[in-house]
Subunit: 343 residues, 2 copies
């Protein structure tokens, strides 16, 4: 009975010997009907595979079960990984995630938010570009729907933010590097596409001062999301001209570090902390590929799982209560030092 002739809830209710409003209740919340009726509905559901019309459901409904998830760039494995976990959290809670990538273009973030609006989402989970984001667009969304930011924060927009404590994580890394060798230089992009970069720079400065070392920052030209390319080109330039003031480089993120490792390899430099090595390279994020670089990359692991779950839960609370959080919350998780062979 795969191709059932059931055309609508009316018919399905009739053939199941149950009233339509009750069936409607069932689909809105299976737990809201008596166990015996639920059983009858589900039995009949197996015989005739009917499913309600989503558009008809959502049209006249106060709130849908849709949750918008917007990330700046799915081509970046960091976001692909965290988006995956957020998505699964939504599904587990019975919501329909709608994933949208802005493909690295802030104006597309705006478009994504606009078209999300027309889907009347129950709530929105947004990893914004940061100051590249169209703040008005984000505020508009936040005005109409519960909004939780993750990864990157924007002032006081949205009802909650969830991310990583850059200050602590960078300090963790700086402390380790200083303890185990020469103090690190800091390598980043001149015009970073992510606000965490600025926090990490500041954290580096603070941490270096705290440890009594002179900080030394190197900024690569180049814009966009080709971090590895930039890390390779600009990092390679710095390496070959021996511009770094110490033999240790802390990169603002793993993707830059991956590029730099590639450049170092090309220059015949030996990367690592063992005897005979020319340079140490460290990153931040524990990018999915960092285990497989040559040498494997020492980095700070972000707690993907915790961030994703917490972001969803913050949103979920609002959905359950039917109201915004009483005050904006900011949650940051601590990074974890992952020691591999690159530093």
């Amino acid at each position: 009975m795969r191709y059932s002739k059931i055309r609508n809830m009316e018919e399905f209710a009739a053939i199941s010997g149950i009233s339509r409003p009750t069936v409607s209740k069932y689909f809105n919340d299976p737990g809201s009907v008596r166990a015996s009726t639920r059983a009858r509905i589900e039995a009949s559901l197996k015989k005739y595979d009917y499913q309600p019309n989503v558009f008809a459901m959502n049209q006249n409904r106060r709130t849908t079960k849709n949750i918008g998830i917007v990330v700046p760039n799915l081509a970046d494995p960091f976001f692909s990984e965290i988006a995956r976990r957020v998505e699964l959290a939504c599904i587990d809670a019975g919501y329909s995630p709608i994933l949208a990538s802005s493909h690295g273009r802030p104006e597309m973030e705006r478009e994504n938010l606009l078209s999300l609006r027309s889907l009347k989402p129950a709530g929105v989970l947004l990893a914004p570009f940061g100051r590249m984001s169209d703040e008005d667009a984000v505020k508009d969304i936040s005005h109409d729907f519960p909004l939780v930011l993750f990864d990157a924060n924007i002032g006081d927009v949205g009802q909650a933010f969830v991310g990583t404590d850059n200050a602590k994580s960078v300090d963790l890394m700086v402390e380790y590097l200083c303890r185990s060798g020469e103090p690190p230089c800091f390598f980043e992009m001149k015009f970073p596409s992510n606000p965490n970069a600025n926090k990490r720079r500041q954290a580096y400065l603070d941490s270096m001062h705290r440890h009594g070392h002179e900080p030394s920052i190197f900024q690569a030209d180049g814009k966009g999301w080709h971090f590895e390319e930039i890390g390779k080109t600009e990092g390679g330039r710095l390496l070959s001209s021996k511009a770094f003031s110490t033999n240790t480089v802390l990169c603002s993120n793993d993707r830059l570090a991956i590029g730099m490792l590639s450049a170092a390899y090309g220059l015949g430099l030996r990367v690592g902390h063992s005897a005979g090595c020319d340079i140490r390279v460290a990153g931040h994020d524990d990018h999915p590929f960092s285990k497989f670089t040559c040498p494997p990359l020492t980095t700070i692991a972000q707690d993907y799982e915790a961030i994703a779950n917490r972001a969803f839960n913050d949103l979920f609370e609002m959905l359950e209560q039917g109201e915004r959080l009483s005050e904006r919350t900011e949650t940051t998780f601590e990074g974890r030092l992952v020691m591999r062979n690159s530093a």
Copy 2:
């Protein structure tokens, strides 16, 4: 006038001095109304930022402007890259792409297809798991909506298939490797998660015979999508036990190759084609990361752009004509040999 009080098309039509059906026509196809009316509508659209209710639109409509895009795993940069291009092709043509990743789980592909159905898509673009896919689910979709497969083919399901010509691309690589050094061994997974793997193995066998060499295949245990991990572990085992019969390894895909490069590095083996190197490693796909491996990976580049555009166009034709293609088409593009330093 950001927060307009326009509640529906009725109000918008009234305030614009135009009848509702005409406004409706405009939203369905702006070109279907007289230029002067179009101008009036668009002028009024700027004053009161009204947009029609998507659910009400789609509910009573024969076909929506939604296009479902389903890929097996967005965490794999190959799919993230090709999905991105498909998505953009849809947007450019005025459709609303709805991207869903099956996160490496075939049963989730089935769920994705099921929930897609409820969105009444105009058509579906599917990169299937292959024989891991629930063929019935795919056929069901294809029964109700125009369906184009890409990357991986399934028998005669759907109205079109678009992918890469594995036979040619592998032959290209084998020919190059034989010409420039020892003939390649073939390294792959015992239970590949993608049907292209089988075609590549066969292509390797054919090609080796054609060139008069004895083929030699090595299959790694391990399932799932952690290709780099498997490549590193199993590839490393083979390398350290000197199991490969020649000094050249052709990997079934770049992700395996990346793992193997990592293993080789760990073992202190020098990878490349120059004098003093211990082994050559090549891959397939031109994974976004392959430029940055150590050494950079010699591989076959798939024509992402061509595949994505062709897949969309095949679907688009059906949408325009309002009927299925007269007969199923299979389009394959040739891969391009990308010579870097690993082989």
